[in-house]
């Protein structure tokens, strides 16, 4: 039975799996260090050694596991269940799964595919990564490790490069090192950390621009400085993909709900439209008094284009609403009136330099009808959608651009 102490190095041993008392289990190779929280509130470290859909096997020297136990594989991956000793005389425990908390979901079973995906992904514990380093430098190593554990981003990273700066020299701890060109930046940040006596964090880009790093410098008591360079390239790329997906979804929903009258555009797309055709007028909106002049300019241009009276009136209302919003939600903006090149379309571009509209706020900001509060943006937006042929919207932290189109043909 003591063979389990050797697990998983002994591939022939099946004791940990047998103790789960369920079929289709498998060993976790390499065993993963997990955090175990007991009902009493005590916390221990354990090794996750075997899994199946209904139970998991834990090797734990630090605590006797019994009753209700919560096992944290990652901050967003936890397993809760009842634990009991799985093999006599060995600190190997079986946890019958009660529920699995994975991201936003709560499940009654462990999904093997989900687990394996997590297990084979880069979601390593920082301590695991550090354990791979040979000859850790004792106290320094421990201090850097402590600092690293504060960073939640570590759960998504691919690689961590550890360095220490001593007497102005930067040298790696362990075998892994990143490109030498970055060492100048490392030295600068390390000196800053030593001088200030506190940890310093900075983002760095590799010389060819292909890699992004989160650099973390932590001064150590002996006037040296521990540095961790965390490769966050993939984590950032993944976040960008997620944001793009979310943006596409909002674009589709807003288009569908407004019969494609409201179009969400990227900055580049808006710029193409904004530069198209002939610019006829520019009006700066800095106070409510400027709105009357904007309306006059709009009417003058629409009259010259012989736009029918009712159409002109309603379009001026829409333009006025967009310009008013720059004052309501910011400090004003710029309105330019264009005649589009080949589409018989008047195009008014309203640009403010506010903080932009958050993506999740867009439906409420643009689709709400009627008065709901004194600060409602929706009521004016509803008028724009009613009185224009198309409204294009782009928003970013540097401001919001609205393009209001009116067909005059």
């Amino acid at each position: 039975m003591m063979l389990c102490e050797e697990c998983p190095q002994n591939p022939a041993c099946q004791n940990c799996l047998a103790a789960l008392r369920a079929g289709a289990g498998q060993k976790v190779i390499p065993a993963r260090t997990v955090r175990v929280k007991l009902d009493s509130g005590e916390v221990a470290s354990a090794e996750l050694r075997a899994i199946c859909r209904t139970a998991i096997g834990l090797f734990c020297h630090e605590q006797k596991l019994s009753d209700r136990v919560e096992v944290e594989l990652a901050s967003d991956f936890r397993i809760i269940g009842n634990a009991f000793q799985g093999i006599h005389d060995v600190p190997y425990y079986v946890l019958d799964i009660e529920k699995v908390l994975r991201r936003e979901e709560v499940l009654g079973r462990l999904l093997m595919e989900e687990f394996l995906q997590w297990h084979h992904s880069a979601e390593k514990q920082p301590t695991d990564m550090l354990a791979e380093l040979k000859e850790p430098e004792d106290e320094r190593h421990r201090l850097i490790k402590e600092e690293l554990q504060k960073l939640s981003i570590l759960r998504q990273v691919q690689s961590i490069y550890l360095y220490v700066m001593e007497n102005g020299d930067i040298r790696p701890i362990g075998a892994q090192r990143t490109e030498e060109l970055m060492e100048g930046d490392m030295r600068r940040v390390a000196l800053e950390a030593i001088k200030s006596g506190t940890s310093v964090r900075e983002q760095l880009v590799s010389s060819d621009g292909s890699k992004m790093y989160e650099m973390y410098a932590s001064p150590l008591p002996d006037q040296t400085c521990g540095l961790a360079l965390i490769d966050v390239t993939e984590a950032i790329a993944e976040e960008r993909r997620r944001q793009q997906k979310e943006w596409d979804m909002y674009k589709q929903v807003l288009g569908a709900v407004t019969q494609d009258k409201l179009v969400l555009l990227t900055d580049a797309e808006l710029t193409v439209l904004a530069e198209d055709g002939l610019k006829l007028a520019t009006v700066l909106i800095q106070s409510a008094e400027d709105l009357a002049f904007l309306r006059t300019e709009c009417r003058r241009i629409m009259d010259a284009l012989q736009v029918e009276e009712k159409r002109k009136f309603q379009y001026v209302v829409a333009v006025n609403e967009a310009a008013t919003n720059t004052l309501k939600h910011g400090t004003g903006g710029t309105v330019t009136i264009h005649l589009a090149s080949a589409e018989n379309t008047v195009r008014v571009i309203v640009h403010d330099h506010g903080n932009g509209i958050l993506l999740e706020e867009l439906p409420r900001a643009t689709l709400r009808q009627g008065y709901s509060s004194k600060h409602s943006l929706g009521v004016g937006f509803h008028a724009m959608l009613q009185f224009c042929d198309r409204v294009c919207l782009g928003t970013s932290p540097s401001g919001t651009r609205l393009i209001l189109e009116c067909m005059i043909g």
């Binding site: 106070s287 009357a292 006025n320 008065y371 004016g380």
Partner: protein, 101 residues
């Protein structure tokens, strides 16, 4: 925005002329409140109102709502067709349940 008012036996008539936008919205709302609070009934004459937007009319909306809650009667009359279209799109009369004609 020009303004005139008459008051007879608890009935006030407010007459506005010009463009009702963000620049004058506060003023219009304050006038309606002032006359509404000291009369039982207020008629707002829109015959010479040539433009409205959501901000300008917004002050009128919230003041009217307050007056209705106090049991006052508010009516808007002589609204031009094009202005009526705007009020309709903004959901002005529907939300207040008042007569606009």
């Amino acid at each position: 925005m020009d303004f005139q008012a008459t008051e007879t036996n608890g009935q006030a008539t407010l007459y506005f002329a010009g463009e009702l936008d963000m620049a004058v919205g506060d003023k219009v709302g304050n006038l309606l409140r002032e006359y509404g609070e000291r009369n039982g009934s207020v008629t707002v004459d829109f015959r010479d109102v040539t433009f409205v937007d959501s901000s300008g009319i917004g002050n009128l909306f919230f003041t009217t709502k307050d007056l209705l809650a106090l049991g006052k009667r508010v009516e808007i009359i002589n609204v031009r067709e094009e202005i009526m279209d705007i009020l309709h799109v903004l959901g002005f009369a529907e939300a207040l349940g008042i007569t606009v004609n």
